[in-house]
């Protein structure tokens, strides 16, 4: 039972990180209809920036917000310089471009920062308390708090501000948006900027406990984030969060009970990466729009 609760907490902690990146995916998908395969690698670059900042003596508490700002600017630039040229093209072209950006961002990160692992100082202190034999660490709880805050800010932005209204209008009908005077280009740029900033926060969360940073950090994370978004429904921010936590918990449980070297099942050692895909298949089989995705009913 103790092991179970502990794993549940670890799962939620990881799930929160997946949810952060999934939120970024959902935001870009909602505003532009693009699935950004480079989301994880963009976060990789900002996480390296985070490391570089701390390595040059910037305290971690200041480095995280700076990395988020770098992400915001990078997202805006990527939209303006690369994505805008293909936004009108077919979905396939756009997917190939984002995969190209995925490879480019990863190679650029390796070129500048090398392939050895870096250690980013802890941004969340290594504190723990024991309640009824269960060791509760601060990290998952702090990350969950961060995620709640992220969701609240995002919800307020989308539902309660003029910018949010314009972002949703562009995602609903780009032509009509232009006809009421909304500059779609500016809105798409804003969408990419906000998503990249969210991704940067996800990257910082992934190394918040002093985890090692190398060029492969985000690839695994992106798989789980995609699973989270697909399970929750690509157009639902709430779905991204719930999906992220489902994937995180499922992953922690399979790692402990099925694939662990000591108490796992011998022939199930490689199952951990199967879980997210299995969950995607299961959800899509019964709810093709995801758990929280909306099927838009439109009368004409």
């Amino acid at each position: 039972m103790t092991l179970f609760v502990q794993q549940l907490l670890i799962g939620i902690g990881n799930g929160v990180i997946y949810a952060s990146v999934a939120l970024a995916l959902v935001l870009i998908y909602r505003t532009t209809g693009i699935l950004n395969f480079a989301q994880g690698e963009m976060a990789l670059v900002t996480t390296y920036v985070l490391w570089q900042l701390t390595d040059s003596g910037v305290p971690i508490g200041a480095a995280v917000p700076l990395a988020v700002v770098v992400g915001f600017v990078m997202g805006a630039l990527i939209e303006r310089v690369i994505v805008r040229r293909v936004e009108e093209s077919s979905a396939l072209t756009v997917v190939i471009v984002t995969i190209g950006m995925f490879l480019a961002a990863n190679s650029i990160a390796q070129f500048f920062f090398g392939s050895d692992s870096k250690i980013v100082p802890r941004s969340i202190p290594d504190k723990a308390t024991t309640i009824a034999d269960v060791k509760i660490t601060l990290q998952p709880i702090a990350l969950a708090g961060l995620l709640v805050l992220e969701c609240l800010v995002l919800w307020l932005l989308l539902q309660r501000t003029k910018l949010g209204l314009a972002l949703r209008a562009v995602s609903s009908n780009p032509d009509s948006s232009r006809l009421v005077g909304i500059s779609t280009g500016t809105m798409l740029m804003a969408g990419w900027a906000i998503a990249a900033a969210l991704g940067a926060l996800g990257g910082a969360a992934a190394v918040s406990g002093g985890e090692a940073l190398d060029a492969s950090l985000m690839q695994r994370l992106l798989v789980f984030a995609f699973a989270a978004a697909a399970i929750g429904g690509f157009d639902s921010p709430l779905g991204a969060v719930v999906g992220g936590i489902i994937v995180g918990v499922a992953n922690a449980m399979t790692t402990t009970y099925l694939a662990d070297a000591n108490n796992g099942v011998d022939w199930l050692k490689g199952i951990t990466l199967v879980v997210p895909f299995g969950l995607i298949a299961l959800v899509l089989l019964f709810r093709p729009t995801g758990l929280f995705g909306r099927r838009v009913v439109e009368r004409v």
Partner: protein, 240 residues
């Protein structure tokens, strides 16, 4: 409407094409202040392209002047800010947004404090929109969506309202009500309107003047009364 009224819209030698296919062959027409002008034409005559060229949604050559200023070649969002409100064919409402959010999106470029007053004003004109203010626009009937599309355009406080086949897909009674409202709006607000339609019967009743478009060229023009008497128009558009 007197011909001496200043022009809101002056279109000269407008030519436009979709790729290699020319659809507009040098149109010239104008809309005066507080006037309703109709362009009658069959499917494929270039009605929609004419409106899309005016609002900057397709590239075209020639001249389009709004209040004396050239707007041809400007981006749609810029033209919208200058005061052209285009209600596109198929209504173009934001289906996932609520009725009220649609209206607020219409006021996107406005910074004056009258926005809430205006929303109530158009709710007064179209009470059904008020009943459905919190409902997603896409879930409403075609007629309600058309009323929303018109109200959203009016929220822009436009100088010129472009209406692309507002009667399309609507039941005759709903169309009649809509045209009646449009006529009243024009009398009360003196917003100039350019309506393209196949439904000549109803449009000629509210319009002051009109043009007949055939294969991208204007083949007849005159006051609504003159057009209603025109043999060609009677045969092709009034079914007489």
């Amino acid at each position: 409407m007197s011909l001496g009224a200043p022009s809101v819209l002056e279109v000269n030698d407008l030519r436009g094409s979709y790729g290699p296919v020319r659809v507009l062959h040098g149109l010239s027409f104008e809309v005066h202040a507080s006037e309703i002008v109709v362009i009658l034409g069959a499917n494929g005559s270039g009605k929609t392209s004419t409106l899309r060229a005016i609002s900057g949604m397709i590239s075209a050559s020639g001249s389009v002047k709004l209040g004396g200023e050239e707007i041809l070649g400007k981006r749609p969002e810029v033209i919208a800010r200058r005061g052209v409100a285009h209600v596109p064919q198929g209504r173009g409402t934001f289906a996932e947004l609520t009725v009220e959010e649609n209206l607020r999106a219409g006021a996107y470029t406005r910074k004056d404090p009258q926005i809430d007053t205006d929303i109530e004003r158009w709710y007064g004109v179209f009470p059904r929109l008020k009943e459905r203010r919190g409902q997603a626009a896409g879930s409403m009937s075609g007629g309600e969506q058309q009323m929303l599309a018109v109200s959203r355009a009016l929220m822009m406080s436009p100088r010129l309202l472009l209406l692309d086949e507002p009667s399309l897909g609507l039941a005759p009674l709903v169309t009649q009500e809509l045209f009646q409202r449009l006529g009243e709006l024009n009398r009360q607000t003196s917003i100039a309107m350019l309506v393209v339609e196949q439904n000549a019967n109803l449009t000629l009743k509210i319009a002051h003047r009109g043009y007949v478009l055939e294969a991208g060229e204007i083949v007849a023009s005159g006051s609504s009364a003159e057009l209603a008497e025109n043999d060609e128009v009677r045969r092709a558009y009034l079914g007489m």
